[in-house]
Structures are given as C-alpha cells and as structure tokens.
C-alpha cells in the first residue's frame, strides 16, 4: 500500500510542478536560513569546558566606587595587579591563576627568515590543571617555578611544528624578545572556543595562543599587557612599569577553582572581607561590592554571543514561520483541489485513516525535497556567512553530518506540522457532496 501511496504522491506532485517546486523551495530556504544562523549561534554559544564550567569563577572587585558608574564607567572586568597579587597570596581557592595576554617577537637564527610575532599569556602553574590543557609533550611548570620566576615556557603544538618540526622539544630553548626560555611542555592544539579566560580582552574566537609563560617572569621582564587596560578618569599615575602595575588600572584576569557551593560561598565571603579590609585601610571609600561569576555566567556577562548572532537567529526563525504558513496555504490549495478524487476514494471504501496516510506520505515527500534543498542552501549559507559575521566567528559555522541531519529532520518535521491542517481538511471531505457535483 505504501508503494501505491508513493506512486500517487509522485503523480500528484508532478501534476502541478510549479506549485510543488514552490513548496519545496519555500521549505528549503526557510530551513536553510534557520540552520545557517543556528550553526553560527551554536558555535559562539558553546560551553568550552562543560565538565568544569560550574567550578571555575571570575571575581570582580569594585575599585572605583559608585561614582564611576554614575559617570558611565562599568565595573572593570579584570583586577588591578595589587588585588590579583593579594588574592594569589591568600590562596583561598583550590586552584587560582592570574592571567594577562602578551605579544612578543621571535627572531629566527636563520638570517634570511623574517622575525614573527608570538601571542600568548602570562599565567600561574595552576592555569593548566584548572583549564584542563592537554599536553603533547612535557607538562606545566610547577608552583616552585612560579615562586622563583623561572624562565620557562609552554608552547603550542603549532609553534612546536614550526620551530621543531613536531619533535619533542621539551628541554630546548627559545628566545622571545630579548630573553631565553626553556620549553617545559607542548600543549596539544589547545584552543577552547570561546576562549573563556580571555573574553574580557578579545572576542574569544582567535587563533590558538603560541606560548604560555610564568606571570611572575613576565612582570620581572616588564612585559606589557597586550589586552585591555581599564583606568578610570584622566591619567595620573607614577611613571614607569612599576607605576603602572601599582596604579588602580585593571588589567589582570583572575580565575579561581571552587569545587562546590560551600567553597563558592566561602570565597564570596572572603572577597567581601577583602574589600572591607581595603575600605578600612583607606583605599576604598564605599560599601564593599564584589561579584563572583562562574564560567557560564561570565560568558553571558561578557556578551560573548554577539547581538548580531542572536538577532539573525530570531529573524531566521520568524522567516521559517512565514514559510510554514505559506506552505500550509499552498498545501491546502493543493489538497482541496483534489476534493473530487478524495470523494471517490472515500466512496470506494477508503477510511479517513487511509486518506491521512496517503497525504502524510505526499507531505513527507515535499518535506524530504525541502530538506535536500535546505541542505544545499545551508551549504551555500555556510560559505557566505563571511559576508555577514566577523571572520573569526564566520569560520566556526561548518557544515557537518550533524547539521545536515538536523536540516533534514527540521525540514521533515516542519513540513509535516504544516501539512497537519490541510490533511485534516482533506480527510473531512464529504464523499456525497463531491460525487453529486461532478
């Protein structure tokens, strides 16, 4: 019987090829626009570290007071060097790290090749275990090396490929700017997206960092931050690197690992007490105010998903809705035009259920057709998202089997949903009426 319905469906769809094509195209384009924008949205809203995202926290301390907010300055999304060092000394979390982005240069030994830029981060030993960085060779430096300001470095597998042709380079030395560093580890293509620990400085979707070096070493060598420095008001700090790091400019990212709710509450109290201490010491003149957000809340707070991505997704869904309403109308026209045929079938003994099956089959064929068109258009859409979104974000929208499957399912389900009302109408056709009038 199904084969018969299939043949009936094909014949009916071929009878008005333009109407059929219109339905297939409508479904296809509607689904494709939603899928393309969804692919981008899914990529930018991904959780980069699901297994620990509720245990990693970024603190903020109100260092400028309520007056700054009245003047339009937001609470800084980084700490001052002074506060970051105080928090690190107290070590109240299970693990903690201060981080800042650095931009260095590497001069190759070979006279003919050009020097190149090296991007990376200065951090503490805990950084790697907190964020679960996978190592290809070697490992992180240890806390003793933090304390001795050791000249060590962890490099990326890409840099290892470029400099050492992918061999185990642990123990080798590289020269960054004007200083040598001993390689202690090579991370294995590690680039969480979004790069949650740096979203206060970047959009979070850049190329993987090349190196990581001890924070204490970076400060020793007076390596400047390559990220944002938030100061309040006009300039007015002591000159020199020392003047900079002891100013009330916020530029140090800080993360704490707190395993459970109890630890989180304790840390919150600790931060509040810290701010209150600063108050008593005469540094702040306002009610202590701190925030502590976990990784998921932090990504939300930093608006990692650009508003453009959200608007596009909503708009595409609205567009899909119009396409579906359109399909309902076209199907209604198509099915009701065959009222006579339905009447004959019903009079010859076909039950309503059989009419349902027949038309569901036909609708499913439209749905599958729409899905195929949708996959093609989604592919085209993914190729052209570069026109609409930032390049860093656009290249995240990839067509994979999951997306193709989702496109097909979405097309089929929405077509069947759209077909529901027209089929219901078709199944209610009164055979007697049809037979009488024809």
């Amino acid at each position: 019987m199904l084969a018969y319905y299939f043949r009936l469906g094909v014949r009916s769809l071929l009878r008005n090829p333009i109407l059929t094509m219109l339905m297939v195209l409508t479904i296809g384009i509607g689904v494709a626009s939603s899928m393309t924008t969804y692919a981008v949205f899914r990529a930018v809203s991904a959780n980069p570290l699901p297994e620990k995202s509720l245990q990693l926290f970024a603190p903020q301390i109100d260092i400028w007071g309520p007056q700054s907010r009245a003047q339009g300055a937001d609470m800084p999304d980084a700490l001052t060097y002074t506060d970051a060092m105080a928090l690190l000394r107290d070590k109240k979390a299970r693990r903690q790290t201060a981080i800042y982005p650095v931009n260095l240069t590497l001069v190759p030994q070979d006279e003919r090749s050009e020097p190149f830029a090296i991007n990376g981060y200065a951090a503490y030993a805990d950084f790697f275990s907190m964020f679960k960085a996978p190592f290809l060779y070697g490992g992180a430096w240890n806390m003793a090396q933090d304390d001795t300001h050791a000249a060590v470095v962890v490099i990326s597998s890409q840099l290892n490929q470029q400099l050492f042709q992918g061999s185990d380079s642990v123990g080798s030395t590289i020269r960054l700017d004007d200083h040598d560093y001993e390689i202690v580890g090579v991370v294995d293509g590690w680039n969480p997206k979004p790069r949650f620990y740096d979203v206060n400085n970047s959009d979070g979707f850049n190329d993987a960092p090349d190196i990581f070096l001890p924070f204490t070493r970076g400060i020793d060598l007076q390596i400047n931050t390559n990220g944002n420095t938030n100061c309040y008001g006009s300039a007015g700090r002591n000159p020199g690197f020392d003047g900079f790091i002891h100013s009330d400019c916020a530029w140090v990212s800080y993360w704490a690992e707190l395993p459970d709710a109890k630890a989180e509450a304790a840390y919150r109290d600790y931060l509040t007490n810290y701010a209150a201490d600063q108050n008593r010491a005469g540094r702040f003149h306002w009610k202590p105010y701190i925030t502590l957000r976990n990784l998921v809340e932090w990504l939300d707070y930093e608006k990692v998903v650009p508003p453009e991505t959200r608007i596009s997704l909503w708009l595409s869904l609205g567009f899909l809705l119009v396409c579906l309403i359109n399909t309902i109308g076209l199907m209604l026209a198509k099915f009701m035009r065959r009222a006579g045929e339905i009447g004959v079938r019903r009079a010859l003994g076909a039950s309503r259920k059989e009419i349902w099956t027949q038309f569901l089959f036909e609708a499913a064929m439209v749905g599958v057709g729409g899905g195929v068109v949708g996959v093609v258009f989604t592919g085209l859409g993914a190729l052209s998202v570069g026109l609409v979104f930032e390049p860093d974000i656009a290249r995240l929208a990839r067509v994979n089997t999951g997306l193709i499957g989702l496109t097909l399912v979405c097309a089929l389900v929405s077509t069947l949903a759209a077909a529901f009302y027209p089929i219901w109408r078709a199944s209610r056709v009164q055979p007697a009426w049809q037979l009488k009038s024809n």
């Binding site: 006009s234 000159p239 609205g318 209604l332 009701m336 609409v388």
Partner: protein, 408 residues
Amino acid sequence: MQISPILAALRYHKAGVVLIAMQIALTLAIVCNAMFIIHQRLVRMDKPSGVEESGLLVVKNEWAGKPATGQIASLMAADLDTLRKMPGVANVYATNTYPLSNGGFANGIGHSPDKRNYVSVTAVYFSDENTLSTLGLKLVEGRNFNADEINGLGDNDKIAPAVIIVTRELARRLYPDGSALGKTAYISNEPSIIIGIVDRLQIPWVDNSMARWADCSTLLPFRNLVTITHYLIRTQPEEIEDVATRVRATLYATQRLRVIRPKDGVKTFAQVRAAAYKSDRGMAILMGVISVILVATTAAGIVGLASFWVGQRRKQIGVRRALGATRQDILGYFLTENLLICMAGVVLGGLLAIGLNLWLMKQFEMERIAPGYVLAGVAMLLLLGQCAVFAPAWRASHVPPVEATRSV
C-alpha cells in the same frame, strides 16, 4: 463594488483568509523592523571620520627583540625618513592608533587635576606636526603643533602634554560658553593648553557603548617609543596600491628586525573602514536578503491561494458572467477581496511590528522604530498583494460565461 457579498463569500474560505492575513502580518512585522535596522546600520556606517580617507595607508610595525626606548627613537626616525622618500608618498607620521582601528586608549579630560573629576572621555592620539596634513584634518581654530613641541614618550612614561589639539565637539563640551582656544584642560594631573581645534576626528571605536563621545578626540604631541607603532601614510590616491605593495619590502630592506604581518600589516584606510563596520554591513546584507526572500515568498503564497480560489470558483464566475457581470467586475471582485484580506493583515502586522520593535529594544538596545517605516511597509504590502493577485484575477475575469453551463 459591493463589499458585503465579498465578505459573505470569504466566510467559506476562513482558513485561507486567516493564512494569508497571518502571512501578511508577519511579513510586515519582520520587513519593517529589518528595514529600520538596515537604515540604522547605514547611518552608523555613514558617520564621517573627519579623515580624508582615499589615498591613506596604514602600516603596523612591531620591533623585534625588544629594543630600548632610545633605539626605537632612531629606528622610527629612520623609518619616517625612508617612507617620506618613497615615490608616491606625500606625508607620513607615527602614532599609537587611528580612527576606526578598534584599539588604543581613552582618558578623562576636564578642568581639574583630580583624575576622577572629568568633563568628558576622549580618545588619545599621539601626533606630530605632520598629523593634520597626513590625515587631512580640517583645522578650524588655532595652529598645528611645531616640530620642536614633539617629544618622545617611552613605555609607561608620564603623559603630561604642554599643548594639545582637540576636536570641535570636545572643545564645546569643555568650554560650552566660548572658544576653548588658548584655554587649559587637564588630561593628566598637569594642565595642557589647547592650541588648536579640528573640525572632526572620530575615536578608534565604533561600538554603540562609546557613541556618546564618538567625536571627542585629543591630539597629543608625542612620538610613542614602544614596540608597536602604526605609520599613517598619505599617498597620491592613484598610487596607493603601488605604495601598498612596495612599502613592506622597503621597510624590511632598511631594518630586518621587525614584524609587519604579511596578512594584515599593511592596510588601506578603505580596508580599515570595511573591517570596522563589518558586522554592520553584514547585518544590513542579511536583513536585506531575508526581506527580499520573505516578500517573494509571501507574494508566491498569495498567487498560489488566489489561483486555487479562482479554480474552485470557475462555475460561480461563469454564472456571474452569464448573468451580466463584466470582466472588470470579476477582476475588481478578486482585487477587492485581496485588499480586504491584506488590510486585516496589515492592521495585525502593524501591531506586531511595534511589538517586535519593543522586544528588540529591550533585548538589543535598539531604538524606537519610526512610524514612517510601518506606514511604508503597510503601503508596500497592500501593493504587493494587489500585484500578486492580479494574474489569477485576470485569469478569473477571462473565464467564459459558458462555464456556467458545463456541469451542475
């Protein structure tokens, strides 16, 4: 044309009527908000930077191996000299940042050495005596920097300029009641004298959050002697491509220990502008494409359902024609029917459009939609409905009266 028989007939096609009206309503809501977003983005992109953009080239240079401040001063002087001697180059200067670059820093500026007490936020542009002519800025009051006023500024050195040049907007904010020329302002904890006022100079950022002070820029007479420098190069507009292709090799030939990234180290200002407004342009394109497809889909839907109705009513049309209705009557019937449905749709759609706008305002900090957009959308959709229904209606009007006798 009598409306009551049309309304009576519509009662037999409730589903189709509701579907078309809903489609019209949603299309109206989406399209007029999309048009509004496009307009807003175009306005943002249209904002003048104050810079004479054609023929302007930007080179981002990073010194390799961390040379000392004194070394950078001589390296930079040599570079400026090399660049100035390049054929096709009219002028050049070195700076920390430039308009639309999306990088740099901002400071408070005001009337008091107390840094927390400022009048406005301002972008800080390090400049020299060649900045005005290289960028093509229009000096409306006062004078340019003199060469002997330009000082070197090492990493984290104290920024306390003796003289500054500000934009007209910043001058107005500092001294709303008279000319700011010759007066002082505090950009550090020491006073600076405003020696010149330029007509316009946009800040490096185009974000909405900074739009409130987007025209408040200050030029400071410093050469920033740090690892990363941007050279701004004024070329003869017809030679910009030529200079752009040669500049990297020319600089490397004089000094190898530098990084000018092959990918984006050399950019024309047109590329800078395109990158700064990439997401705005993208939004405008996306909204435009979706609107066009949406309108086409809706039109196709109307054609489809109207054709179906005409097909269904051939007999009735034949009867009407046999009873003396003219072709115009039949044509008018279908056009009026469509107009009635569309009117119901646009009333609902107008409300939806405003609702959608309110939601967008809440979610995405958008502005209130101008009523003109909704009215234009209403007119467009009514016209679209009439155009879409015309072909089926035309066919209906050509149904011969003999159709009435065919069956029954």
